[in-house]
């Protein structure tokens, strides 16, 4: 859970940083897309690098979901009879929504790939014209809304996920617990803000 989550987090950080190239203009983000497709092309072929990344991500997602399902099934087996009077889990909103939040994120990724990778669900949908596709998307308030829901869900997922993963790996005992808490919150806020900056910049006309 922690290791696959860490792999996915590394990707999410790189993805978020890459997105910010939208603010440097159409040439910058489209050029970045070409660079990713041609990266290590002599060795891996055209788009080869992207396919390697996609394969790693798919494997990480499958293992991450497998671990989550195993944990959920163990939890159900460990308490066959529930409480008549159920109290709230005091771990906070982020901890309570890990499982269904994860499902929301998974469904969003399917939509997101069809939208901005395959271009099928994109109103512009021209391969390689990343800037124009993004702008065409986020002119619509409902697309921005869908992305907002998913990114906020991702933020909550990371808030508990980063904290939990670091502790699963044995970090954050006693003295460093506060640092681990702060790191988890910081990562969650940065990723959420970074991802949301693009759709809202388009919606309010800063990027056109």
């Amino acid at each position: 859970m922690a290791v696959t989550g860490g792999v996915l987090l590394l990707y999410v950080v790189a993805h978020m940083a890459g997105n910010l190239k939208v603010f440097a203009g159409a040439d910058s983000i489209d050029g970045y897309g070409r660079f990713l497709r041609e990266f290590l092309a002599p060795v891996l072929g055209h788009s080869g690098f992207l396919w390697v990344v996609r394969a790693v991500l798919l494997l990480a997602v499958v293992l991450h979901m497998t671990a989550a399902i195993q944990l959920a099934r163990r939890a159900r087996k460990a308490r066959p009879t529930g409480y008549a009077h159920r109290a709230r889990v005091p771990g906070g909103y982020a901890a309570r929504t890990m499982r269904w939040g994860g499902v929301i994120i998974a469904l969003f990724v399917v939509y997101h790939v069809l939208d901005l990778t395959a271009g099928v669900l994109n109103p512009h949908g021209v391969e390689g014209a990343i800037h124009d596709n993004v702008v065409a998307d986020f002119r619509h308030w409902y697309v921005v809304l869908a992305y907002t829901v998913a990114v906020v869900a991702l933020g909550f997922h990371l808030r508990h996920g980063v904290w939990s993963a670091l502790r699963s790996l044995g970090m954050g005992s006693a003295r460093r617990a506060a640092a681990v808490q702060a790191a988890a919150l910081g990562v969650a806020v940065l990723i959420t803000a970074g991802f949301l900056s693009v759709p809202y910049a388009v919606l309010f006309g800063f990027v056109r």
Binding site: A75, R79, Y83, A84, A87, V89, P90, G91, R167, A174
Partner: protein, 249 residues
């Protein structure tokens, strides 16, 4: 004062249980929750009914025998308090109180509110000990222990093994219990020889007994009558990882 209780009644391990409502009269604010059940049981006996079975022993908050889920919270609404040290002044007589046993597959209900917690003994047997040379007791100052280690170990050693962590955990995990023992022994010089195998063996046994996996919700710490910190779980994970990396088992 009169309180209304909805108590889990179950005649045996395989019987079907249900919540039964009782009105209890003559309750004073300074009675403990167990004394409330005593008052109820006296009346049930006089009426020729079966008394409500519940675990208890010292009634001083140190033995770990008592434990009830009161309105969905293990050991009731007060922080760092065992059920026997919980007083009726914290309850509103107008609101019915729901009383249930610990709920976890490794803690089968024996009768009413009594559950069998021997699974925790199995976890201790798997590694919750130190290998000490037999013979005369060593001098108290023969093995130096750093003060911070002694303090943290002592905090973890305060675990009374009541099982509230399991009862509260949404995953039914015994991680806080196991981590308390691993932290207690793993911080002291006497616990070093078995430090990593202890963590790995106790965790594996806990999993085999049917406890759930930890997802760091913190529900355990919130109800722990001894305030065992969640940090102990990070320490357990650290030692389990070290065990996996160090010795090919």
């Amino acid at each position: 004062m009169r309180y209304t209780l909805r108590v889990w009644r179950q005649t045996g391990p395989d019987a079907r249980g249900r919540l039964v409502e009782y009105a209890v009269d003559g309750v004073t604010p300074d009675m403990s929750f167990l004394e409330l059940l005593d008052v109820l049981n006296e009346r049930l006996l006089l009426d020729g009914d079966e008394p409500v079975a519940f675990d208890h022993d010292c009634r001083e908050g140190i033995c770990g025998m008592c434990g009830l889920v009161i309105d969905g919270v293990a050991h009731g609404p007060e922080k760092a308090t065992t059920t026997c040290q919980l007083h009726m002044r914290h309850f509103d007589p107008a609101v019915p109180i729901v009383v249930e046993p610990w709920r976890a597959a490794p803690f089968p209900v024996v009768r009413d509110l009594v559950v069998d917690r021997s699974a925790l003994d199995r976890v201790i047997e798997a590694g919750g000990y130190i290998s000490a040379p037999a013979g005369a007791a060593p001098d108290a100052h023969a093995v130096p222990v750093p003060k911070p280690a002694a303090d943290t170990a002592f905090d973890a050693a305060a675990c009374i093994g009541c099982g509230a962590c399991v009862a509260a955990c949404p995953n039914g995990s015994a991680m806080l219990f196991t981590a308390a023992k691993v932290t207690h022994l793993g911080l002291l010089p006497q616990g070093q020889p078995e430090r990593h195998s202890r963590a790995a063996d106790m965790l594996r046994t806990q999993d085999e007994l049917g406890f759930g996996g930890c997802t760091q919700t913190g529900a355990c710490t919130a109800v722990c009558p001894k305030g065992i910190p969640l940090d102990t779980i990070a320490r357990l994970n650290h030692d389990v990882l070290a065990a996996a990396l160090r010795s090919p088992r």
